[in-house]
Structure formats: structure tokens, C-alpha cells
């Protein structure tokens, strides 16, 4: 069955034989022949211990770093060989990031922080604000748009960050240890939010070392020493 939504490819993300070598010294081979595909609407967990290559893989999937060899397609478009400017364009349209440290900008209100997710996409200011407000409501913070980051709890701050990652309707969201700075209650609440968003059609790639958190994912890929060790679906 062909996907009739406005998507040019079956896969949100497709990696083929990705290698990443850091030309030291010392020379470090961070990723070896990593191939994987992410379907639209998937909730994928990438699990691995420290030094397994999780962060390198995240950076490559997010086009923040380029592989030494191999190919990456986002929505069917090969991004290897693109210029820095083109890659920035891909990020502004196709990819949403959620970081462990939230990275909310201190001088901006929650609403403005969410709207910043659209800043580099060429959308006029008024529409950015409207869409940001909608997104804040979706993550349950519609009433707190005026608050500055330091007036929000950790859990609320991460929700604002999730709203910022989703406001431009990306092909997929890369969540890098999103619960790493949250207590168990807020962790549960954030995972519930990500699950709900995923059920609504958002593709989520969750990178974590926390097996409890990874349990929410239907499919789990384990990285070990820069290689895909296992790829299990529920």
C-alpha cells in the first residue's frame, strides 16, 4: 500500500553502511557499517552504554555531523554531500531535536522558545507565534506561554523543548536522553507525552542508556562498539 500522505518516501530515515572514523590521534572508529531504516510513525529506541556510538549516530542522523562513508536519506532524499547551508535547511524542515539539557534560551518566554523552532524556516513572525501557541497547548502548557524558562519546573521546561522540536512538523524527532535530567515522575509524564505524540503520527527516535525509558518504544536497536547489536520489535 502506497503512503498517500505528503511524503516522498516510505522511510522517514534510511541509513546505509554508515562508518564514522575520528581522525585522531588516536584514530577512533565510532560507527561501523550501521544500516537501519526508520518508518514514518515509528517510536524507535536506540540503546547503548557510554561509548557505544549513540551520540555519534544521533549527530549523523540529525545531519549535524557527516559520516566518513555510507549514505543517509531523509524522506527519500540523500543528504550526503550536501553543503552546510543545505543541511541547515534540512534540519529546519525535517528534523526536531530534544536534548537532555533542554537548551531553552534564558531571555525568551516559553512561547518564544517554541517559536524559535520555526525561526530559520522562513515563516513570518505572526504565524510562528500562532503555531507555537498551538504546540504549547498540545504539550499541555497553553497557560504558561509567558513564563520564562527559569519560572518553569524541569518537566515543564522539557515539554517546552518537545514543543519546540515539533512545531515545524518534522519528519522525525531525535530525542537525546530526554529524561536524563528529570525525576521519575517527570520521566513518566514526558514518556507519556512522547507516546501520545507518536500515536498521533509523530516519528520519534529516542536515544537513551536507560532501559526503563526504552521500554516505551515498539522497536529497540542496541548499539555496541559502534555496531548494531540487535534490532527488536515488540
Amino acid at each position: 500500500m502506497v503512503n498517500i500522505e505528503n511524503r516522498s518516501s516510505e522511510y522517514a530515515l534510511e541509513l546505509q553502511e554508515i562508518n564514522k572514523v575520528y581522525e585522531g590521534p588516536p584514530i577512533v572508529k565510532a560507527l561501523s557499517d550501521v544500516s537501519l531504516t526508520v518508518n514514518h510513525g515509528e517510536l524507535l529506541g536506540i540503546i547503548g552504554s557510554s561509548g557505544s556510538g549513540k551520540t555519534t549516530l544521533l549527530h549523523i542522523m540529525g545531519t549535524l555531523s557527516t559520516p566518513s562513508s555510507g549514505s543517509i536519506s531523509i524522506d527519500g532524499t540523500n543528504v550526503v554531500g550536501m553543503s552546510d547551508k543545505q543541511l541547515s535547511g534540512v534540519r529546519s524542515r525535517k528534523i526536531g531535536f530534544v536534548f537532555q539539557e533542554f537548551f531553552l534560551l534564558p531571555g525568551f518566554s516559553a512561547l518564544e522558545n517554541v517559536a524559535n523552532g520555526l525561526l530559520y524556516s522562513g515563516i513570518p513572525s505572526e504565524e510562528r507565534m500562532e503555531r507555537a501557541f498551538e504546540m504549547l497547548r498540545t504539550v499541555g502548557l497553553g497557560e504558561r506561554g509567558d513564563h520564562l524558562p527559569n519560572e518553569l519546573s524541569g518537566g515543564e521546561q522539557q515539554r517546552v523543548a518537545v514543543a519546540r522540536a515539533l512545531v515545524h512538523k518534522p519528519s522525525f524527532v531525535l530525542a537525546d536522553e530526554p529524561t536524563g535530567n528529570l525525576d521519575s515522575e517527570n520521566t513518566a509524564s514526558l514518556m507519556a507525552l512522547l507516546t501520545t505524540l507518536n500515536e498521533g503520527g509523530t516519528t520519534v527516535i529516542l536515544i537513551t542508556h536507560d532501559l526503563e525509558v526504552a521500554k516505551s518504544a515498539q522497536r529497540r536497536i542496541t548499539l555496541r562498539d559502534g555496531r548494531v547489536d540487535s534490532d527488536l520489535s515488540r
Partner: protein, 390 residues
């Protein structure tokens, strides 16, 4: 990104770090304020001097005897004034002669202290030649110059304690009573006359029994011929010994004052430039620190889709905003200082447009220079490096 977005993003760093922004702007503020203030003050001061010069004219020559070859002081001939009058472009000639003797408030003071007031016999057109005016009373005329009447220079009147002529003051002048009929306003082109008690030549002859040749002759000639008149003056006055005649231009003193203030101007502009240089380094320093401190923000913005150009323009805008803010506050401060001092000195306030626009342009240029390296550095931080937390 539109211009408003660029300004908003560029100002975000300043909004969250206001004290630092204010402090880093100070150097530029002081530098620009110094430049605007100095230019404004010198223009206001020069305008004042120029106004004086315009009013007094630059066509007044002074002719006096210089040192002769022989050891004794040379003197002008008694018909010198008449000879000068025959030079065609000359339209006013007024002779003065110093007379030795003391000037006192009354005949009881005989301690020899003359208060530095000299007695001067003068032609009746002296005031017109000097373009001077009277503070009180009137100047000598055909009638009063024949009798013991005296007009006091501004300083002389002050030293004698005579403020106006309404009291019919008499002063003891070379052991004769003279009545004060006029007090002069200061004469900028002949400061010596401010310290004089001026009487008519006929009165000097009749009452003081003095008949000496003129000592200083003031000459007005048409401005376009002043150079020519000056060149033939010495030979006209003393055809045999022209080198014994000194010819000067009274306004040269005022022009020298303007030139002197220009010399100070250059010095202060130099100081202002140093302040601006220090301010530039200050802003560059603050911007370099901002780039280091805000690596995570750079990483986040790159993740959100900012290009290198977006990042560079953000930090360059921040630097430009800082320096322009400094420039604007500097211009305002400089204008206030100028206005304050000019009011205090009773000058007209002149703040040259080039000082204002120059101050602002200078500060914008500084922002560009100071922000260039930090902006390039920020743009070239690798996104993965920038997202790393410490």
C-alpha cells in the same frame, strides 16, 4: 529571517546580560562623548571668537615705532598720521600717545602706586577705529577734548572703582583734576587701551603741557587692500628708516587664539580616539567571551536550522548594537557637556552635524571591527562541538 528577526536575535544576548552590556558600552560612550564634546566646545568657542572677529574686523593695522639701529627708541614723526591718511584705501586713522604720569582717585593718594593705569592722548575717532562701544557716558568730542575731561578704559575704571559716569567723578591725573565723562567696554583689538585713561590731544597740550609725536597709530583700510596697505606702510611713515616702523594686524591676536584652540582640539581628538580604541578592544573582548559562553546556544540554533551566516550575523548584530548604543549615549553626553559649558561661558551653542554623524558612524564601524572575529569564530564552531555540555 527578516531584519526584525535579526535584530531580535542579535539583541537577545544584551537583554539577558544587561549590566555587562552597559559596562562594555562605556568605553565607546566615553570616546564618542569626548569627540563630540571637544568638537562642539571648540566650534562653540571658535564661533564666539569668529563673531568677535567679524564684529571687530580684520582690517585694523597698528603702526608704531620699533627699535632703531641706534640704542635709543625710535619714534614716529608728528605728521605720520597725515601721511598714512594719504594712502588711498585707508579710510580711518587714529593716533595715540602715551603720557608718563600717575592716575589716582584723588589728590590724597600720593604713594606712587599707579594701579598700572597709563595716560593716553588720543584722536577723537579712536572709538570708531576700534569699533568699540561705551559702557557709560560718552567719548571725547571737539569740545570735551579741549578741557580736562577723561574717558576710562574698562579695566582702568574697574581699578579706580568707578562704575558709571553719573556721579561726576573727578580723578587726579598727572596732578590735575580731570572729570570722567565716559567708560569704555573692553576693546579686544587693543587691550592696552583697556588700562588707559584717555584724554584729548588739545587737553594734553593745554593742561599737561605735553606735545609729543604719536606712538601708536591705528589704521583702518578696506579689507581687500589690507595686504597692500600693510606692505607700503613702513615706507610711507618713515621713508628714510622704514625698518624702524613696526606694522601689525590687531586681529592676528584673535586669530592666534583660534589657531591655539585648534591645536588643543587635535590633542583632545587624539585622546578621544584612544578611548575609542580601548572601547573597541572592550567590545571585542566581551563578544569573544559571549561566543565561548554561549556555545550551547550556537549548537541549539544550528540544530534548529541556523546556517553559519545566521550565527555570524547574530553575533555581528550584537556587537553593532552594543557599539551603536555606546555611540548614541556618547553623542547625547557630548551634546549635554557642550550645551552646559557653552551656556556657562555665554557662548552660542554650536554642535557640528559632522560630530554627531561622525560619532554614530564611528561607533558603527567599531562594532563591525570588534564583532567580526567573534562572529566568524561563532559561525565556525562545529554544531556537535557546540552541543557538548561540560
Amino acid at each position: 529571517m527578516g531584519l526584525l528577526d535579526i535584530l531580535s536575535v542579535g539583541s537577545s544576548g544584551l537583554r539577558t546580560r544587561r549590566v555587562r552590556a552597559a559596562l562594555s558600552v562605556l568605553g565607546i560612550t566615553i570616546g564618542v562623548a569626548a569627540l563630540v564634546g571637544i568638537l562642539g566646545l571648540s566650534q562653540s568657542g571658535s564661533a564666539d571668537l569668529m563673531k568677535d572677529l567679524d564684529a571687530l574686523g580684520t582690517n585694523l593695522l597698528t603702526v608704531q615705532a620699533g627699535d632703531g639701529f641706534r640704542s635709543q627708541q625710535a619714534s614716529l614723526s608728528s605728521d605720520a598720521a597725515a601721511m598714512i591718511n594719504r594712502i588711498t584705501p585707508v579710510y580711518e586713522v587714529s593716533a595715540t600717545t602715551k603720557i608718563a604720569g600717575g592716575v589716582f582717585l584723588n589728590d590724597l593718594i600720593q604713594d606712587g602706586r599707579t594701579k598700572g593705569i597709563t595716560i593716553v592722548a588720543a584722536d577723537l575717532n579712536l572709538l570708531r577705529t576700534q569699533r568699540g562701544s561705551l559702557k557709560s557716558g560718552k567719548f571725547l568730542d571737539e569740545m570735551t577734548s579741549e578741557y580736562p575731561f577723561v574717558v576710562l578704559g574698562s579695566v582702568a575704571a574697574e581699578r579706580l572703582g568707578i562704575r558709571n559716569t553719573s556721579g561726576n567723578h573727578k580723578i587726579w591725573l598727572k596732578e590735575k583734576w580731570f572729570m570722567v565723562i565716559g567708560i569704555l567696554e573692553p576693546l579686544p583689538l587693543a587691550a592696552d587701551l583697556d588700562r588707559s585713561a584717555i584724554i584729548g590731544y588739545p587737553a594734553a597740550e593745554k593742561f599737561l603741557e605735553i606735545d609729543e609725536p604719536p606712538e601708536i597709530i591705528y589704521v583702518r583700510a578696506y579689507p581687500e587692500h589690507i595686504r597692500d596697505v600693510r606692505s607700503i606702510m613702513a615706507a610711507t611713515v618713515s621713508p628714510e628708516n622704514p625698518e624702524e616702523v613696526q606694522v601689525g594686524r590687531a586681529s592676528d591676536v584673535l586669530e592666534a587664539r583660534i589657531a591655539a584652540s585648534d591645536a588643543f582640539l587635535n590633542l583632545f581628538i587624539g585622546l578621544g580616539a584612544v578611548a575609542l580604541l580601548v572601547g573597541t578592544i572592550g567590545i571585542a573582548n566581551v563578544m569573544v567571551i559571549a561566543v565561548i559562553e554561549r556555545r550551547n546556544e550556537i549548537g541549539l540554533r544550528r540544530a534548529l536550522g541556523a546556517t553559519k551566516f545566521h550565527i555570524a550575523s547574530q553575533f555581528l548584530t550584537e556587537s553593532l548594537l552594543l557599539s551603536t548604543l555606546g555611540g548614541i549615549t556618547g553623542v547625547i553626553m557630548g551634546m549635554l557637556v557642550t550645551a552646559g559649558y557653552a551656556v556657562f561661558r555665554e557662548w552660542s551653542i554650536v554642535i557640528p552635524v559632522y560630530a554627531i554623524s561622525g560619532g554614530i558612524l564611528c561607533s558603527i564601524l567599531i562594532g563591525g571591527i570588534a564583532g567580526f572575529y567573534p562572529a566568524m569564530r561563532a559561525a565556525n564552531v562545529s554544531p556537535t562541538e557546540a552541543l557538548r555540555t561540560r
